[in-house]
């Protein structure tokens, strides 16, 4: 990851491109991407900048607060949310390479501050300009295609929050289909949970295993070379299972393929550097 190529030829539809010029995007990296898979962050940078936006990565970001929120620890969730709001509220757009973290900000932040109207308004405002990466590229930046290359038969797993809370379904498929060399193949039950579920996978490991085993089985049956999704949690879960099963299927974040940044080993492969 020494060099970042920023010459992606993104093809924006008419009008949208000029609208993007000068608009400032704050990249919400997400904790899993920051810690486990920085290359997804750099893929996001490349895609967003190539679409004509100026991008910054606020240093005062850590996590969206979902672990606390979904564990019933509302007070800590609010503390973390306030920090995210402060770090990002000055941007024109906030973009994250994760449906789950985006849904946390978009769908759940406003409700957290029912008893603090001032913060509720700020949360509402942030909610309105926050987008998941791929849906941002298609729905906001107006991208119809990406000019990158990837050789393989890929299948796309719909992560639950992205699909059901943010309605992300067509956008990644549309951009993937535009890539040279990619054959997009649907697996059975692509819209069914992979069993990750945040802390669920470590609280109920056996149930989680039963669910992910069905998922990896469906990917195997689809006979693909690569399994893609938009959330690192799901990806690490599926990759971890596929590796344990000795499968040859490669697992990657969809942004890596869209940005043409697939030099680094796939998720779960031994790090090469």
């Amino acid at each position: 990851m020494d060099q970042i190529e920023l010459n992606l030829e993104a093809e924006a539809s008419n009008g949208e491109e000029t609208q993007a010029k000068g608009k400032r995007v704050g990249l919400f990296v997400t904790c899993l991407v920051d810690l486990f898979r920085p290359s997804v962050g750099f893929a996001a940078v490349k895609l967003i900048e190539a679409a004509g936006f100026s991008l910054e990565v606020p240093r005062d970001q850590t996590c969206c607060g979902q672990p606390a929120y979904n564990s019933g620890d509302k007070q800590d969730a609010k503390k973390v949310a306030k920090q995210v709001i402060k770090a990002f509220e000055d941007y024109d757009y906030v973009v994250a390479p994760s449906g789950s973290c985006t849904a946390m900000i978009v769908k759940h932040y406003p409700g957290l501050f029912a008893d603090e109207p001032n913060w509720a308004a700020r949360a509402e405002s942030l909610s309105g300009k926050t987008h998941e990466l791929v849906s941002f590229l298609v729905d906001v930046a107006g991208l119809e295609s990406v000019a990158s290359q990837f050789e393989g038969t890929v299948t796309y797993h719909d992560s639950c929050s992205g699909l059901r809370e943010l309605k992300i379904e067509k956008q990644p498929r549309k951009l993937l289909s535009s890539i040279d060399g990619v054959a997009l193949k649907e697996m059975q039950d692509s819209d069914v949970c992979c069993g990750f579920g945040g802390t669920f996978c470590v609280k109920y490991p056996d149930v989680s295993d039963a669910i992910v085993t069905k998922k990896t089985g469906n990917a195997e049956k689809a006979d693909v070379t690569t399994l893609l999704a938009g959330d690192l949690g799901c990806l690490m879960n599926m990759a971890g299972k596929l590796k344990r099963q000795g499968s040859a299927i490669e697992v990657r974040h969809v942004a890596e393929v869209l940005a043409g940044m697939t030099d680094q080993p796939a998720i779960g492969e031994k790090p090469g550097r």
């Binding site: 970042i4 904790c31 991407v33 920051d34 810690l35 486990f36 898979r37 920085p38 962050g41 750099f42 990565v57 240093r59 005062d60 970001q61 850590t62 996590c63 607060g65 672990p67 606390a68 979904n70 564990s71 019933g72 620890d73 509302k74 800590d76 969730a77 503390k79 973390v80 920090q83 639950c160 929050s161 059901r164 809370e165 819209d191 069914v192 949970c193 990750f196 579920g197 945040g198 802390t199 669920f200 609280k203 109920y204 490991p205 056996d206 149930v207 295993d209 669910i211 992910v212 069905k214 690490m236 990759a239 971890g240 590796k243 344990r244 680094q264 779960g268 031994k270 790090p271 550097r273």
Partner: protein, 476 residues
């Protein structure tokens, strides 16, 4: 019924290891989902209908007292009786009094989930009464001495082979070489045995899918017609219903019925939809001499006005469990009480206490598929989260979990410290992660590596690499 929700983890492990159960659970995944989708696709206004259904129930719950009073008046006017029961035991006693008043020996029962909640069969059998389940699924599990594992398909956890075995074991008065290879032949067999019971029964008990305030009617839906025979052939018809089954008008019930069968089994309508209003009238050719309705509260009124009120919109279609990956994996019994799946994960702590059912709202991935198919648009994950909040407030969750969350929140709200620590930590972890054996000994990671590899981090964090990238960009 013993509550086993606190041992959900162990129940789940047993369920996962039970090959027969796993085979039976496949039927849910393959059967119900596709049928529902076809029925929904065939009705363009289905989505709008969900809003209508939600609004009907929301309105009713806001004025529940008024509609219940109106309902009681109408039932009384049609010659029936309404009994109010605060607890399950109160309701059982009322049923028993009614049975005693007519000197009943045999009681037939249509399918009713609240009778499971009341543990009615055990209560009546204790006094020597003969209670016969007439719904095929309920009949099968009664023979097996089990409880339902699903709210509309009570015996969905049982395979065809097991049913055949049970019938041959119990129906010894029938020829030994009869054909029991198909669902239809089994249904025929059960029908033959049950027919005698319908005529022998003094009291017929049914549940109610809806109660209609406008007319004082109760509504049941079945696919086997057993509910009709249960209620019309006995001398006394007893309807068991919980308070929230009430809807204002016949038209409202009609709208909800359009949602119910489609969501449950993918049918446009169930094979039988039966409206009952009072006992038989003089001109009626058949019907019961007495008509009683027992309205059970059992904790439901205390859900009104709380963050759990919306749960009372539930019309018991089972779509949430049919679409739940956790239910698919472990089946209904693992949930440890009457109501399984996502609806049970919300309702069970409401009725028996979160201290006893705390696992259930946690045993969800929050995938949201339940809410997306719920005909009444009940925000099930949101309410499970509310239960997790209650649990957290009351310190009911394990201290290691609380400690972990607190530590994470402490770090997450101190970005400089967080980035410094994580930057160092990921460098170390890059080298540890591929060594699964070691990871299994570390806290938290053991649960992960039991079934999966832990993908190693790239080494540096994004923030570290981005800082370097920024320097480079400035330099050039």
């Amino acid at each position: 019924m013993k509550i086993t929700s606190p041992t959900f983890k162990e129940n789940a492990r047993d369920a996962l290891a039970n090959q027969t159960l796993q085979k039976a659970l496949k039927n849910i995944e393959t059967g119900f989902i596709g049928k529902r989708q076809m029925a929904v696709d065939a009705l363009p206004e289905f989505e709008d209908l969900r809003d209508v259904g939600r609004d009907i129930k929301t309105h009713t719950l806001k004025h529940l007292d008024l509609y219940l009073e109106e309902y009681e008046e109408k039932v009384t006017a049609s010659g029936g009786h309404v009994h109010w029961a605060e607890t399950a035991e109160d309701a059982c006693k009322i049923v028993k009094q009614i049975c005693e008043s007519v000197n009943a020996k045999t009681i037939t029962k249509g399918k009713s989930m609240i009778s499971e909640e009341m543990q009615l069969n055990a209560f009546l059998e204790k006094d020597g009464l003969n209670v016969v389940e007439t719904d095929l699924g309920e009949y099968i599990i009664q023979l097996r001495g089990e409880h339902p594992s699903h709210i509309i398909a009570p015996a969905v956890h049982v395979t065809k082979d097991q049913v055949e075995e049970d019938f041959r074991r119990v129906h010894t008065h029938l020829a030994a070489d009869r054909d029991l290879s198909e669902a239809t032949s089994m249904l025929g067999e059960a029908r033959e045995v049950l027919r005698e019971q319908y005529f022998a029964a003094d009291v017929g008990i049914t549940g109610a899918n809806f109660l209609i305030a406008e007319t004082g009617s109760s509504v049941i839906v079945t696919n086997e017609g057993n509910g009709d025979l249960t209620q019309t052939l006995s001398r006394v018809h007893v309807v068991l219903a919980s308070l929230e089954k009430i809807v204002p008008t016949m038209n409202d019930a009609d709208q909800l019925l359009r949602l119910l069968a489609r969501s449950a089994t993918g049918q446009e309508q169930s094979v039988y939809t039966t409206f009952s209003t009072g006992p038989r009238r003089e001109e009626d050719p058949d019907g019961p001499e007495q008509y009683h309705v027992i309205l059970l509260d059992n904790g439901r009124s205390s859900m009104l006005g709380t963050e759990f009120e919306e749960m009372l919109r539930c019309i018991r279609c089972g779509a949430c469990m049919n679409h739940c990956p956790v239910y698919h994996a472990v089946g209904g019994h693992a949930y440890g009480w009457v109501y399984p799946g996502p609806m049970g994960s919300v309702l069970t702590p409401s009725l028996i206490g979160v201290d006893k059912a705390g696992h259930l709202p946690n045993a969800s991935t929050f995938c949201g598929r339940c809410e997306s198919v719920c005909p009444m648009k009940i925000p099930l994950p949101k309410m499970m989260r509310h239960w997790r909040e209650k649990e957290y407030e009351r310190h009911l969750n394990p201290s290691t979990q609380r400690w972990g969350l607190k530590s994470w929140a402490f770090l997450a709200t101190r970005p400089a410290l967080y980035h410094a620590l994580m930057g160092f930590g990921m460098g170390v972890m890059k080298h540890l992660a591929p060594m699964t054996g070691l990871m299994q000994k570390l806290p938290m990671t053991g649960a992960w590596t039991k079934h999966r590899e832990l993908p190693a981090p790239e080494g540096s964090t994004f923030q570290q690499m981005w800082a370097a990238e920024q320097k480079k960009r400035k330099a050039s």
